[in-house]
Symmetry: C2
């Protein structure tokens, strides 16, 4: 929030320069125009009734490659010099970021390497390979994926596309909230899930620049609570690898670039339970007819259980993605 | 098709007057404005690749009460005199029509009775009762639901809202295609599932009036092939109750009003298998992140398997609804 930064400055403290500004998000939006899907914003009275508020869902599960990750990956790769780009890109991820980078690699027709763990679900390996990326597998127990990726990058002259701790990735992620606010300008609050903090960072910077007084709230599951702890202790906390159904946010800490944004600009971080996430996935499937992956349902769960109402009753929520294995979907449906 | 009618007239045959005109569909659209959802039209390169064509999906599973049925039911009830409406309405259905009429009854705050079989899935009974309708149960084996509904209607002065064989219901159903053509005016073909024929009738009348040379194709499953047989034999055929996964089109014949429209205006009726429907439901869930009920996937299956390509490569498809039991969804996911 601008207020915090001003207070800090007035108190004689050093003013923090955040990794991105709203101009970076707007520049990313220009780059993504006609390339990323402008995903629909959905509204349903049945959800409003459960939430006790008006809720608008920004549906990034309908984004290319099934998640908001495409926005950042494309923004990053489009910003490389032509020479860098032609040498190729590399990413490490077993999830949505892998598919997003692989799709971008195909769109730019450049060499693309994705480092995935040997025990990654075959459906995700196949989807990533299906975009034409080269898959390099590593053993999660014995190999450091980041070191491996950096080594391959150096050997082959590839550019590493990080999953969140990068200004262009953060700015790209913020374009979803920009579109949401273009359609629903008078929101009181925007909520998004928090993993490494890329999505919530971009969201917060653009939302506060676009609408004075808006609240931006990050949502984690109870086990994956590093941003919650960081925010409340005012220091970047690292947790043990969390056990949560929300596989997209099994992160242990915010990034060096995303933490200052969460500290300065995000209003609060709150928690939902895995059971609330599962019940919300069922609600989204059965009532709204949409598929959200567990992480995609995290912020919706916060809205649906009324946990966002103290920030206002006009609530925007980002559904971050929809890539979920059929077995997981079945298991969650069967619990209802 | 206008051509057929002209040819018939020129040949000295009696010209058929159809139950609805495109003006009726436009009037319905005016009535539905701000009441029905203007559902999104979705497009995905992954579907195009499978179809070998460009495919746009008109997503009526996102319509109020989860199916296109709301359009016809609301158009019908909004057209009653104030006195008729206040006396109330009655419908017989165990499916989407029941929920649509029940929701309309709540919106108009009028007495609403739905006759449902004693063996209707409890989830559907609950959803219908949840809108505040009175449920009258009947035994499918021993009672004639239409006779029962007419008897109750007479006793209580209620107006019967039929599921398809009614000009206002047909015209209301046509508004989905009108919206689709407003967003994608240059389609070569529009396909929709055929049960009683209300949706395909409204679709065909408005599509031919809006775009010269467009093809309108009805789609049935192999077992539920009464419209296919009727079209190809040029007589209204009644079949035995069909065994198909597509529970929304387990109809035995077209209606007295819908058959002439199918005969004169619909270009063709084609068939897909239950397996193609199930595979398409999985594709819609896993790739497009949307829930379609089996009937909702019927016309998508036709597009996806290339069966519509002979009519052109710019294909509009109506997903009729998304109301499906979680067990069914699971069973279909598990088969993949």
């Amino acid at each position: 929030m601008a207020t915090d930064a001003t207070d800090a400055a007035e108190a004689g403290q050093q003013q923090v320069t955040l990794a991105i500004t709203s101009d970076d998000v707007r520049a990313a939006a220009d780059r993504l125009r006609g390339v990323a899907h402008r995903t629909p914003v959905m509204h349903a009275l049945s959800l409003d009734a459960e939430a006790g508020a008006q809720v608008w869902l920004k549906c990034e599960q309908f984004q290319r490659a099934g998640a908001f990750k495409f926005r950042g990956a494309y923004n990053k790769i489009a910003n490389l010099s032509e020479e860098e780009r032609q040498r190729g890109v590399i990413a490490f991820s077993s999830g949505n970021h892998a598919q997003a980078v692989a799709l971008c690699g195909r769109l730019f027709a450049i060499p693309t390497v994705i480092c995935m763990p040997t025990d990654a679900p075959s459906v995700k390996v196949e989807a990533t390979a299906g975009y034409g990326a080269e898959i390099v597998q590593y053993d999660r127990m014995t190999q450091d994926r980041e070191a491996l990726a950096r080594q391959i990058a150096e050997e082959r002259g590839l550019t590493l596309v990080p999953p969140y701790n990068d200004a262009l990735i953060m700015a790209g992620a913020g374009t979803a909230a920009l579109e949401l606010l273009e359609e629903q300008p008078d929101l009181d609050v925007i909520a998004a899930p928090v993993g490494g903090g890329g999505l919530i960072s971009g969201t917060s910077v653009i939302a506060h620049a676009t609408r004075a007084g808006i609240h931006v709230v990050g949502v984690e599951t109870e086990a994956a609570n590093h941003a919650y702890l960081s925010k409340h202790r005012d220091e970047r906390v690292t947790i043990d690898p969390p056990d949560t159904i929300a596989d997209g946010i099994r992160t242990v800490a915010l990034g060096q670039l995303t933490w200052p944004v969460v500290r300065e600009s995000v209003d609060d971080v709150i928690l939902v339970s895995d059971d609330e996430v599962k019940a919300t996935m069922r609600f989204l499937l059965m009532r709204l007819k949409i598929v959200a992956e567990p992480t995609g349902a995290v912020a919706v769960a916060a809205a649906r259980t009324g946990k966002l109402n103290r920030f206002g009753r006009r609530i925007g929520v980002i559904i971050s993605g929809g890539n979920v294995a059929p077995e997981t979907l079945c298991a969650i449906l069967a619990e209802g």
